[in-house]
């Protein structure tokens, strides 16, 4: 347990994060439209293949199951 505490204390804080961590934080907190484009494309493709039932067509269906 003591060993674990030391490790946590050694965690690198935001100021001294390695390059990759800073980049990740930037994307998470201050993303540009461009950088999120791949995620947007994936979600658009997902919603085309698996549309949430908000179109009303399915929900307004009066049939019984």
């Amino acid at each position: 347990m003591a060993k674990f505490k030391n490790k946590v204390d050694e965690a690198q804080t935001t100021r001294s994060l390695p390059q990759i961590a800073k980049q990740v934080e930037d994307i998470s907190l201050r993303p540009s439209r461009e950088v999120l484009q791949p995620l947007r494309e994936m979600i658009v493709e997902l919603e085309r293949g698996l549309p949430p039932a908000t179109s009303g067509e399915v929900l307004s269906s009066r049939v019984r199951w």
Partner: protein, 510 residues
């Protein structure tokens, strides 16, 4: 020991139970039960019949229907327990643990006392394999059973068939999904079939067969789930690839999707099938030898890549049936995905109209979004040369964060990583996306698959286009986000002695 005291108990061979008491139930349902009990490693040998069993579900519907008749009708059901050991009445009288134990116990079937007899609450242990494929049923639930004071338990996916009185197939499917989740999820309750129908129809009073048997509309299915306490999500006209992914991802986290399916006119075993039907997906088959080759993004694949078929519980056609998904032709539009449901060596074909996923309360982010968040970050790490540009496979599942930590304690042997995860405050529900190299997975035994790392996402977030994450672990390092004074702070740890490790076993509790 006085065995004659146990008058309400009868012990017969398992085969005899099927040729007598279970003979008149629907042939497809009976055959599926037989396959589940006899086509397995530890086959059913003995059946113990409780003749005067008061079943909670049948009793609740009895008082809405038969209980109001002038002519007395029985409200007592028969419950049949199956064991893979040779059990006698003496063993029950003497409480012999070497014969009657959880290892040999295969579960029970309740038979309703109506004509023709139908199957009430049933919990039968899932098969280890179906058609030569490994079978996984992460939606199974541990059910405690009492047999004349002997405590038993069985892990099984709940099954029930409709009685055409207080319920149709939609209620039966909702009951199967609810009974699989309710014992595991805080904030939802176990409901009887009559309670589910009442919730769906917003009825606070007893109702008659005219209402109970006519089936539910989709909004009523949703309303029933909301009434029980879930945050359900409804999807329409799924494509084949997405139907496979959404079913796999949620089943893997213990959540059974409810599928609304249209059956064109067809016949099986002399019975005509046509119309609308609902069933519950309870598990999946796995085969790492064959692939679908349907990436989520660039060279990143979902683990559903290796799922040749699903396992469904269908109240009309039986328990633990294999369902293959295929792309529907243009003629079926707007329906886009079809299902071949195997009943023995015959199949029926239906088309998926919509699916309903009963998320535990406060879960907002669907698993398919979590997989895409993982794919986005993996592709980003590959572009930054943090990860090698090799094809990756992602396995996403929902977990209670405390169960995730318990699993780590039991299964992970990287002390530093384990301690970081354990020290981290997490939301009640998280999506865990484990990833490995596709080439390592192809052809590898399902029990020997390894992951290179895992990402964790907050399941209580809205599904927006935002690159959110809670932890990201790759070989040698981990990024975690801790909340301090209502803001997220990123921390980086390098992990000494990091190594690829086994996938976390499917959580029994989501």
């Amino acid at each position: 020991m006085e065995t004659s005291l146990f008058k309400s108990i009868e012990v017969v061979s398992a085969e005899r139970a099927f040729s007598t008491i279970l003979q008149n139930i629907h042939p497809s349902v009976r055959n599926a039960l037989q396959r589940s009990l006899f086509v397995r490693r530890n086959k059913a040998v003995t059946a113990v019949i409780e003749s005067d069993y008061l079943d909670i579900d049948y009793s609740s519907s009895f008082f809405l229907q038969q209980g109001r008749s002038f002519t007395p009708l029985s409200r007592r059901t028969k419950r049949i327990h199956f064991f893979s050991s040779r059990v006698s009445k003496r063993h029950i009288a003497e409480e012999s643990p070497e014969v009657i134990n959880c290892k040999s116990y295969l579960g029970y079937i309740v038979i309703r006392p109506i004509l023709p007899p139908t199957i009430g609450r049933t919990f039968i242990r899932p098969p280890e394999s179906i058609d030569g494929y490994r079978a996984f049923c992460p939606t199974e639930v541990e059910v405690p059973v009492d047999l004349c004071g002997i405590k038993l338990k069985v892990k099984a996916c709940p099954y029930i068939s409709q009685d055409q009185l207080v319920m149709a197939c939609a209620t039966a499917s909702l009951w199967m999904a609810n009974n699989s989740l309710a014992p595991k999820v805080t904030g939802v309750r176990q409901c009887t079939t009559s309670e589910i129908t009442a919730l769906a129809l917003s009825l606070g009073e007893p109702y008659g067969p005219a209402l109970g048997s006519r089936g539910l509309r989709l909004d009523e299915e949703e309303k029933a789930f909301c009434g029980i306490g879930y945050d359900p999500k409804l999807y329409e006209y799924p494509q084949k690839k997405h139907l496979v992914e959404v079913c796999y991802t949620h089943v893997e986290g213990g959540i059974p999707p409810v599928l609304n399916v249209y059956f064109p006119p067809q016949e099986i075993e002399g019975i005509n099938i046509e119309g609308l039907h609902v069933f519950t997906v309870v598990g999946h088959l796995m085969d790492t030898q064959c692939r679908r080759q349907e990436p989520i993004y660039k060279n990143i694949y979902g683990a559903s890549e290796f799922v040749p078929a699903f396992i469904i519980n269908d109240d009309q056609n039986g328990i633990y049936l294999r369902a293959d998904v295929f792309s529907a032709g243009k003629k079926q539009k707007p329906l886009r995905a079809g299902l071949h449901i195997w009943i023995g060596n015959k199949k029926i074909t239906g088309y998926c109209h919509s699916l309903l996923i009963p998320f535990p309360p406060r879960v907002w982010l669907p698993g398919t979004h979590a997989t895409r968040l993982a794919a986005y970050w993996l592709a980003y790490f590959q572009s930054q040369s943090i990860l090698p540009a090799k094809p990756l496979v992602v396995r996403t599942f929902l977990a209670r964060s405390n169960v995730f930590k318990e699993l780590l304690v039991e299964q992970l042997d990287i002390p530093q990583l384990k301690a970081i995860y354990r020290s981290l405050p997490l939301p009640r529900y998280i999506w865990v996306a484990e990833y490995g190299y596709l080439d390592d997975w192809i052809g590898t035994d399902c029990d020997s698959l390894v992951k290179q790392g895992e990402f964790i996402f907050d399941a209580t977030l809205p599904p927006a286009v935002k690159a959110e994450w809670l932890t990201m672990h790759w070989q040698g390092a981990i990024l975690v986000r801790r909340i301090k004074e209502e803001t997220m702070h990123t921390e980086y740890y390098s992990i000494e002695k990091d190594k690829p490790c086994s996938l976390l076993l499917a959580p029994v509790r989501p």
